[in-house]
Symmetry: C2
Subunit: 119 residues, 2 copies
């Protein structure tokens, strides 16, 4: 069956959440948002492209930082309202220079930083 | 620092996306939504609890199916607007009886089913 970006279910802002996972290690790197055109561009170019809600613009991950995400595979969930992108991540995925954006853990009622910025 | 559910950033519906990942295998199982009370209940009970947008009710994962998610650790992302829950998943996470909800892959412009329902 041919994949059609229009077959996905977007929210009222026309966006769908996309979870980026390191294709090698399995580490979950980040969650960001795509619109239909960002999904299409990601598939066409092999460079993971989000829609920046703060800038209201396409966001080719790593375009300025060099920390690109090369698409390995895109997956769609059962409800067609979430995406998983398996990626090869160059350097840190997080703007704090950490590998993953999920660097804060809740342990025993406290919040603990579990990873440090990369050198 | 004490974790406070009010420190998270919820959308206009009072919800935050939560990605469930198998704590053992690293497989991404599903993406669902929590409100502040669902976050609190998940941490208090150790049973991952979402907010069902379709039913507009708390959804203790596996309460009816038995396919519970035992919380191993909750993580918060840098923008505080997404959660990662590491879980021990009993049986399939997906309502289609598949281990993961992300069972459809986009390959060469086509959509391909990459996992079958569990026995």
């Amino acid at each position: 069956m041919t994949f059609d970006t229009a077959s996905l279910r977007y929210n009222e802002a026309g966006l769908i959440p996309a979870v980026a996972q390191d294709a090698g290690s399995g580490e979950v790197l980040m969650l960001a948002w795509m619109n239909a055109e960002a999904v299409a561009r990601t598939l066409e170019t092999g460079r993971v492209t989000y829609w920046s809600r703060s800038r209201q613009a396409f966001w080719v991950k790593g375009e300025t930082s060099g920390h690109v995400q090369e698409l390995v595979e895109m997956r769609v969930d059962c409800d067609r309202d979430a995406l998983l992108v398996l990626v090869r991540q160059e350097g840190p995925a997080c703007h704090t220079n950490r590998r993953s954006c999920f660097y804060s853990a809740v342990r025993g009622g406290d919040e603990v930083i579990i990873s440090e910025p990369m050198e």
